[in-house]
């Protein structure tokens, strides 16, 4: 997530994102939000292309990134971003620093290897068909040898180039004293090629060059699919990071202020946090009084009053006063200390999970090698010369080479991840699907997960409209986050010209000789009304408004996600236990839990209590999905069997989550479990199919009847069956 360095759009700050093409032109890459169709592509490229100074604009629809080359004398990135914003697309600069990262290089290498293997497989198969047909039509031995030699000439360099992907992985895993699928694959390829060369030298009838190359080709398809899925995930994740640009205002030694990216601030620097801004880094307050909304950090919705000397944490929202904060930790170390410790422990515990593919490999490899050895010894005992017995043993290894097994899991993962993406769930890791499939308990965080990150006025229906209208007009002048839902009600009015901010209290204005006040309950003298409302809306924050003697109080709360009840109901209908574990006070949690019909809930949970609860569930044999968004949820996300975060979650939570919910809706979580279960069953079907395939093919090979033709048919046939079966995972997504 942190690969993209993002900053606010200020001209002087965007220098670092430019790539100089030549002395007078530069290029910038922008992550663009809101692109849906061909019309968007055309609009953006045309408008940007016509922008003065722009040389070329090209949009990558897959990655949702726009690359613009422009003459530095005539255009600047801020103006480009401004133009995009006029068109209705929000854009943020995307750092070119890590663009050519290892994964991109790996993907290109895979594609090249796939191309070479495809070319070789086609040509060798062409020659092989001639040889097979020749067995019946009397192809002379010289021509057959010639065809074999040409095949060898193509197959050996191909294996050296394309097969290296498997060889490298097999060597790496063997060095660590373990085994995976690449070990039998590499062994099979090498034995097939070696035996074929010797056969050809001895003018033999059967050479397996086609089988070896086809094996490489099919398995590379599986690898490429796998990479393509990961690439899409990376692209979306990196765009999210850029779109949620984080910057802080640093106070320079001469007293001037300067905006900069959070990761450019050093410990010891002083930053200024204005009301309505998030605290960017952990630090100590040097000067100022304010209230902080810590819900993203602790889950607690009650606001905390802070003053000079108090510690503040990154991610908290400054509500009322201007704060000067001395930074204690650099961006990378920004974390509550106990969260950090818990996280390290929880991540260790997760490591115990063994992927389905690796478990299959652990059973498969010894079995296959033992069968080959027994075949060799058996034929030797029967009285065959050792060279012939060896050939038969090697054909056993070739025909059991896990072609279908290598595709069985990645093919399903790719199709299922695509189905999940269409319902708005981004898959972070392939094996997460297997873990999600077994889910029988869901633990939900409340703040930011069951509720939306934005606010609404709970008691709006009970308030007199005329007063609300005036309050809304006054709220227009305030930057306090709590005034945003009130200001949204303003009937296209301009703010009162006399509006003045009263730091730490609220905002006041004069209108027709009356004094209007909007702000804290005490500021407006509305304590009695606020106490009454607190009984009804325990989870809400109170904002007072007074005109002369008239007073009203707005109860502002974070509303439930529109489909939270539906999501909980469908989880329960699927037989999954649902519980809420929140860091908030017990009354608001109880209110939400009752509203959703969740009987099991826990309030006031610190990060370590959340982790304990998950451990308790897991040791009770439950398979737990944790859904959470806050920094305080991160250890719990890591401690759960599988985890999910809404897209509005903190970086830290997203980094721990296996899945991201891309929209505002929560019910895709329930659908995701269903798709994962379907995917898991398809994976198991594919694995069982591979077992059955081997039950049929191995006896043929042991009896010495596995000619190259049989091997080619068996291997390609089984791979196709497995791939077609994987496509059924699409249907699971369409049904939802």
């Amino acid at each position: 997530m942190d690969s993209a360095v993002a900053v606010a759009a200020r001209p002087d700050r965007l220098e670092g994102f430019l790539k100089a093409l030549d002395p007078s032109t530069a290029e910038i890459e922008l992550a663009v939000d809101g692109i849906h169709c061909a019309g968007c592509i055309a609009t953006i490229e045309r408008e940007m292309g016509e922008f003065p100074g722009v040389v070329q604009a090209r949009l990558n629809f897959t990655d949702k990134r726009l690359r613009v080359a422009f003459r530095t004398a005539d255009a600047n990135p801020t103006a480009l971003i401004g133009r995009l914003s006029d068109l209705g697309f929000s854009a943020h600069p995307f750092s070119p620093i890590r663009k050519d990262d290892a994964a991109d290089v790996e993907q290109r290498r895979l594609l090249r290897a796939l191309g070479v293997a495809g070319f070789a497989a086609m040509n060798i198969m062409l020659l092989s068909v001639v040889v097979w047909a020749g067995h019946d039509t009397g192809l002379d031995a010289v021509s057959r040898d010639f065809f074999h030699w040409v095949s060898a000439l193509i197959a050996l360099p191909t294996a050296a180039y394309s097969g290296r992907i498997f060889f490298d992985s097999a060597i790496a895993v063997l060095k660590r004293g373990r085994t995976n699928m690449d070990v039998p694959i590499s062994l099979g390829i090498m034995l097939a090629l070696g035996m074929s060369v010797i056969e050809t030298l001895n003018h033999g009838e059967h050479a397996y060059f086609d089988g070896a190359v086809m094996l490489i080709f099919f398995l590379l398809i599986g690898r490429t699919l796998d990479q393509a899925m990961q690439r899409r995930t990376r692209a979306v994740a990196a765009n999210l990071a850029a779109l949620r640009a984080e910057s802080v205002t640093k106070c320079l030694p001469d007293g001037s202020l300067r905006d900069m990216a959070v990761d450019m601030v050093q410990p010891g620097d002083v930053i200024v946090v204005q009301p309505g801004m998030r605290v960017g880094l952990d630090g100590v307050i040097e000067h100022g009084v304010s209230d902080l909304d810590q819900s993203l950090v602790t889950g607690e919705t009650a606001h905390q009053a802070v003053r000079a000397g108090d510690k503040v944490y990154a991610g908290t929202l400054n509500l009322s006063g201007l704060l000067r904060v001395r930074v204690l930790k650099p961006y990378s170390g920004t974390l509550l200390a106990d969260v950090e410790r818990l996280l390290a422990k929880a991540t260790e515990a997760r490591g115990a999970y063994v992927k389905l593919a690796d478990r299959a490999a652990q059973l498969y490899v010894p079995f296959v090698h033992a069968t080959a050895l027994l075949t060799f010894l058996g034929w030797l005992a029967y009285g065959l010369p050792w060279s012939q017995a060896l050939v038969i043993a090697i054909t056993v290894l070739i025909i059991t080479c896990p072609c279908a097994l290598g595709l069985a899991i990645p093919a399903v993962q790719v199709v299922a991840a695509g189905a999940l993406f269409r319902i708005g769930v981004l898959t972070n890791s392939g094996d997460a699907l297997e873990r999600l499939a077994a889910t029988d308990s869901v633990v939900l965080d409340k703040t930011g997960t069951l509720t939306l990150p934005s606010s609404e006025i709970a008691n709006i229906a009970a308030l007199p409209p005329t007063l609300v209208g005036r309050a809304a007009r006054l709220a227009l002048a305030s930057r306090h986050p709590l005034s945003a839902p009130i200001a949204a009600l303003a009937p296209a009015a301009s703010p009162y010209p006399t509006a003045r901010e009263a730091p730490g209290e609220g905002i006041r204005a004069c209108d027709h000789g009356q004094v209007l006040k909007l702000g804290s309950v005490a500021f407006c003298g509305a304590e009695a009304e606020a106490d009454r409302l607190a009984e009804i809306y325990p989870e809400a924050s109170m904002v007072g408004f007074s005109v002369g003697d008239e007073r009203i109080v707005f109860a502002i709360r974070q509303p439930l996600r529109p489909d939270a009840a539906e999501a909980v109901a469908s989880l329960k209908a699927a037989g999954i236990a649902v519980e809420i574990v929140s860091g908030d006070r017990s009354r608001p949690v109880a209110a939400v839990a009752n509203g959703l019909g969740v009987a099991c809930w826990m309030a006031g949970a610190t990060p370590s209590i959340k982790v304990e609860r998950l451990h308790a569930l897991r040791s009770g044999g439950r398979h737990v999905l944790m859904i959470g968004d806050g920094i305080n949820d991160a250890p719990a996300l890591a401690a759960a069997n599988v985890s999910m975060s809404p897209v509005s979650a903190t970086h830290l939570a997203q980094a721990q989550a296996d899945f991201l919910l891309l929209g505002q809706r929560l019910s895709p979580a329930a659908s995701a479990i269903r798709i994962a279960a379907k995917a898991k069953s398809l994976m198991m079907q594919n694995l069982w199919f591979s077992v059955i395939y081997n039950l049929v093919a191995v006896p043929i090979a042991i009896s010495g009847h596995a000619t190259p033709l049989v091997a080619a048919l068996a291997m390609s046939g089984s791979s196709l069956v497995v791939m077609l079966n994987a496509l059924r995972a699409r249907q699971a997504g369409q049904k939802s």
């Binding site: 169709c37 061909a38 045309r46 629809f61 594609l111 191309g115 040509n123 021509s143 040409v150």
Partner: protein, 52 residues
């Protein structure tokens, strides 16, 4: 079978041509934006209605 002397190199040459075309397409970035290529294909630049 003398025909093989020029048919073989021809077959391999044609296959090699395909491979070269694939590698060229990859190098020139044609696999960078697979979804976008599909959308661009159905977009009619003369159609003014979808221009905002």
């Amino acid at each position: 079978m003398n025909v093989l002397v020029y048919l073989m190199p021809l077959a391999l040459g044609l296959g090699g041509l395909g491979l070269a075309a694939f590698l060229w397409a990859m190098r020139s970035g044609q696999f960078e934006d697979l979804d976008g290529a599909g959308w661009r294909g159905i977009h009619d630049p003369d159609d003014e209605r979808d221009q905002t």
